[in-house]
């Protein structure tokens, strides 16, 4: 199975158990999630031939739940992008908006679900990489609380920020998939037991998708609407009206800290990436040998050849931000900003059940448009990155379309381990 919109990098089928909650479902898996015996490229030429000898914990759980994995989906190289155009295997096109990007970096996962080529999919979300493509492709995506889902086997881009999240046509299906992958894993020390935070039925996400928003209190951070596209804003307010009509109410929230989220996010993510991607040096991955010079020069050559432009620039910027003399000015400052963002969003969530905003401030870009202007692409992450910095859960649900028929997503952010709140609220819309 291949797709004309280039949703898959590899289409080798992986069969799951013959029994389980997902026995009739196909679940596509983003290509930065390790699959034993099936190559896992991260959308990079560096890992073109890399075949993991082990399954990621989430893949083990999919298999145990009876899911069939139809293939590994296309993505921005190592997750570094918002459009799925930086993949070494070519860009993915938005299957529901011809000529437009599907969002990223889990663009392949959202695209195959939107096109009906997989029932559901797993993506990873470091700064919006599940929610952005869900919004652009008109499907549902959940970014879980940091520490809800195991990252074991997920190739790290920025390990303090990312989580594996489900993408599905409906909130209920996304909730069901989340239920399968969530929960403690002895191989990932950062996963916590949600029942300790939320009681015995903490993982009953499917049951939470009941659409009951009566009495729901929504906070709306106005900073996330300021720079948004007008058509997007219009669809957003229509969706809020819809929720109000179903018994919810809203109030405006002022979160000054959010203006610094994109910078704090990129400094943090790039710094971590510079370290996480250091292992790809040509010895065991990528093109090794054949170069003249000492090992240091050989490493440099292998990295120059194996990585794409966006990856190289993020590694360089991250290395810079961590370097002596700049560490305090960039990395440390970003961590301070992160603490500030965390604190203020949590405060806002003391006065609201969920926070709402457009998932993306813009409708899907035309293909090729943002490659020329990376800063514009980075700014498109303004609404999604604060959630990762604050370790919180968020869902993107389809809110409607622009006048040109382009999908718009609504983002709902909940408190830590408050997946059920955002699933309940989101299920009132999709």
């Amino acid at each position: 199975m291949s797709t004309e919109y280039n949703g898959y990098i590899t289409t080798e089928r992986i069969e799951g158990a013959t029994d389980g909650p997902l026995v009739d479902a196909t679940v596509a898996v983003k290509d930065n999630i390790s699959t034993e015996g099936v190559r896992t490229t991260c959308g990079s030429a560096m890992l073109e031939d890399y075949v993991p000898p082990y399954d990621a914990t989430v893949v083990e759980r999919l298999k145990a739940a009876g899911a069939t994995i139809p293939g590994k989906t296309n993505m921005d190289e190592f997750g570094m992008g918002t459009t799925t155009e930086t993949s070494a295997f070519g860009p993915t096109e938005n299957p529901v908006a011809e000529g437009h990007v599907p969002g990223g970096s889990s663009g392949g996962s959202a695209a195959v679900v939107a096109a009906g080529d997989a029932d559901m999919a797993l993506g990873t979300d470091t700064g919006g990489s599940v929610r952005a493509p869900a919004a652009f492709c008109g499907v549902v995506g959940i970014k879980p609380t940091y520490g809800l889902v195991s990252r074991y086997g997920v190739v790290a881009y920025a390990n303090s920020l990312e989580q594996v999240g489900p993408i599905a046509p409906t909130v209920e299906e996304a909730a069901q998939l989340l239920e399968v992958i969530a929960g403690p894993d002895p191989s990932d020390a950062t996963v916590r037991d949600a029942t300790e935070e939320r009681g015995a039925d903490a993982y009953d996400y499917t049951g939470a998708a009941d659409g009951d928003v009566d009495g729901l209190d929504i906070g709306i951070p106005m900073e996330l609407l300021d720079g948004a596209d007008e058509q997007v804003t219009e669809v957003f307010w229509d969706a809020i009206d819809d929720l109000e009509a179903q018994g919810a109410s809203y109030h405006e929230v002022d979160l000054e800290c959010l203006r610094y989220a994109v910078e704090a996010y990129y400094v943090t993510a790039m710094s971590e990436a510079s370290s996480n991607l250091a292992r790809f040096d040509g010895v065991r991955y990528g093109q090794s040998g054949g170069y003249d010079g000492n090992w240091n020069e050989t490493f440099a050559r292998a990295r120059e050849e194996g990585f794409g432009e966006e990856v190289k620039s993020r590694i360089l910027l991250g290395t810079y931000a961590l370097s002596a003399g700049y560490h305090d000015k960039y990395y440390k400052k970003a961590q301070d900003a992160r603490a500030w963002i965390k604190r203020d969003i949590n405060d806002a969530l003391d006065d609201a059940d969920v926070l709402a905003s457009p998932t993306m401030p813009v409708p899907p870009m035309e293909m090729g448009e943002s490659l020329e202007d990376p800063l514009k692409m980075y700014l498109a992450d303004a609404n999604t990155t604060p959630v990762n910095l604050a370790n919180l859960p968020a869902i993107s649900v389809p809110a409607g379309e622009t006048g040109d028929g382009l999908p718009v997503g609504l983002q709902l952010v909940g408190p830590a381990f408050g997946e059920k709140e955002i699933i309940r609220a989101g299920s009132a819309l999709a």
């Binding site: 993991p52 074991y152 997920v154 190739v155 020390a189 971590e272 370290s275 040096d281 961590l322 002596a324």
Partner: protein, 495 residues
């Protein structure tokens, strides 16, 4: 120090150490691979975590933290409320991830102290910090050094072995002090049961040495920080033993003093100790300050250890045990030192002392056993599986079944050389002390068979009794006591 000729006598040596010790745990620090690698095939003790495969995550082995807390207690260090891990970023072919997980801001041990004796004097050196980290893999360069080899092989068996890096203040004033400190440190680590000195690479030392003007050293040995910063220092790497540390630093001390004496400037550089040639060599690398870009390892949550110091017990340490041996068993200093040299020796001694007499136990463990082991270049660990047999030997002596001389000169030596049991050796060599009846009949026989000698005895010839004793000794295969025989003969002849 400025470049002008100075008399050697006016110079003082300042040394600080970074000691890496492998902690003995069953499994590696961040995965469940066994650390018992031995001579196993390369890359057979590996998994996605210690290979640094994409997506693999570290999970902290709390056993390694416990071992580190034991060290902290032994050196009276502060154990913090919380401890965290950082990444130290640098590229090197033995590093699976091209970063090392280590500790930076909140090491497990802070501000400790270790006391030791050197040339009869007590010294104490401050330990600035001691932290946990992962060992890299090991490299084999084929056909040269890392710069010139045709190719290099990487073995990740060692990768992830828990390491503790112990950083001292620059408190050492002589290479001999460093040696004594290292001996004491490894002794303590062995007592704690977390260190195996016989494991290859279990101890690795980097030493910083600088020479300052003798007048800058205060009465208590302290040297001002600014003075140290002004002095150019060399970092000597690749030291792997106590003796090697003393030799390398003595070489480096002389080299630097000679340079200063001749008015030359000591280069601030890293030097490599070449054990076989007995020299330190410049590593010729540009001496730029390395930037490791440390930052928090988010994959390992903060570990609360505030109550660990209380919760974790450590055994009696060598100094305390030595003192107790002196008072409890009445041992002299030399025996007490010998018997507490390792925990295994001390434990064995106490076991033997409990069953027999402490004095006899001290003689047999400190003098006989350790002496014979030393002569054979063997360690106590080489016979730890045979403690039962050695106890049996002491029992044979204690119950007078064999003579001390035979026990020492024949049985123990053959036990160590041939691996036989003491009872087998006694039987094979016919060393069992002959019973009184047998000696008595031999006495009677000797008198009957040698009437001439009997007559000589009665005529008062002194040599006659010695001849008869000789006859009896022959008949009993030398296992009778000559003094006893002499008395029995006299009794018989006079009776």
């Amino acid at each position: 120090m400025t470049a002008q000729a100075v008399e050697t006598e006016d110079l003082a040596t300042v040394i600080g150490l970074e000691v890496h010790v492998q902690l003995e745990t069953d499994t590696k620090i961040f995965c469940s691979c066994s650390t018992d690698v031995g001579d196993d095939e390369p890359n057979t003790h590996t998994c996605p975590v210690c290979l640094g495969l994409p997506g693999a995550l570290p999970v902290l082995n709390e056993g390694a933290v416990e071992a580190a807390v034991k060290v902290g207690k032994a050196i009276d260090a502060t154990i913090p409320e919380e401890t965290t891990f950082h990444r130290k970023n640098y590229y090197y072919p033995d590093l699976p991830k091209n970063f090392q997980i280590t500790q930076y801001g909140a090491p497990i041990c802070q501000e400790g102290e270790l006391e030791f004796s050197v040339e009869g004097e007590r010294r104490a050196v401050d330990v600035r910090r001691a932290h946990l980290e992962e060992d890299p893999g090991s490299l084999q360069h084929k056909g040269g050094s890392i710069d010139t080899a045709d190719y290099t092989l990487v073995d990740y068996n060692r990768a992830g072995t828990p390491l503790m890096e112990i950083v001292t203040k620059p408190d050492f004033r002589a290479p001999s002090e460093v040696r004594a400190f290292l001996a004491k440190l490894t002794e303590v680590l062995e007592y704690l049961g977390i260190f195996d000195a016989t494991r290859d690479g279990s101890l690795r030392v980097d030493a910083n040495l600088s020479i300052v003007d003798g007048s800058e050293v205060a009465e208590d040995g302290a040297v001002d920080r600014d003075v140290l910063e002004d002095a150019n220092r060399t970092e000597v790497k690749n030291i792997s033993s106590h003796k090697g540390a003393e030799k390398a630093l003595a070489y480096e001390e002389t080299r630097q003093k000679n340079a200063i004496q001749r008015g030359r400037v000591v280069e601030q550089e890293t030097r490599h100790w070449d054990e076989s040639k007995g020299v330190t060599l410049s590593m010729r690398s540009k001496e730029e300050e390395k930037d490791y870009r440390y930052f928090r390892e988010a994959d390992l949550p903060v570990l609360r250890v505030s109550d660990w110091k209380e919760r974790i017990d450590i055994p009696e340490l060598p100094d305390a045990r030595r003192e107790r041996f002196r008072t409890e068993y009445g041992l002299d200093d030399e025996s007490a030192d010998k018997l507490t040299s390792t925990k295994e020796v001390a434990d064995f001694f106490e076991d033997v002392a409990e069953q027999f007499d402490p004095g006899l136990a001290a003689t047999w463990v400190a003098d006989e056993l350790l002496g014979e082991l030393n002569y054979r270049d063997m360690q106590i660990a080489d016979v730890s599986g045979r403690f039962d047999e050695i106890e049996r030997l002491v029992e044979l002596v204690a119950t007078d079944e064999i003579t001390t001389k035979n026990a020492r000169e024949t049985v123990l030596r053959e036990m160590l050389d041939d691996g036989d049991s003491p009872d087998d050796i006694v039987e094979r060599e016919g060393l069992g002390k002959t019973s009184g009846d047998e000696i008595q009949s031999a006495v009677v026989e000797a008198i009957d068979e040698n009437p001439d000698a009997v007559e000589d005895y009665h005529d008062g010839e002194g040599g006659a009794i010695n001849f008869l004793v000789g006859q009896v000794m022959q008949k009993t295969g030398g296992s009778a006591d000559p003094g006893d025989v002499n008395q029995l003969l006299r009794d018989e002849l006079e009776g």
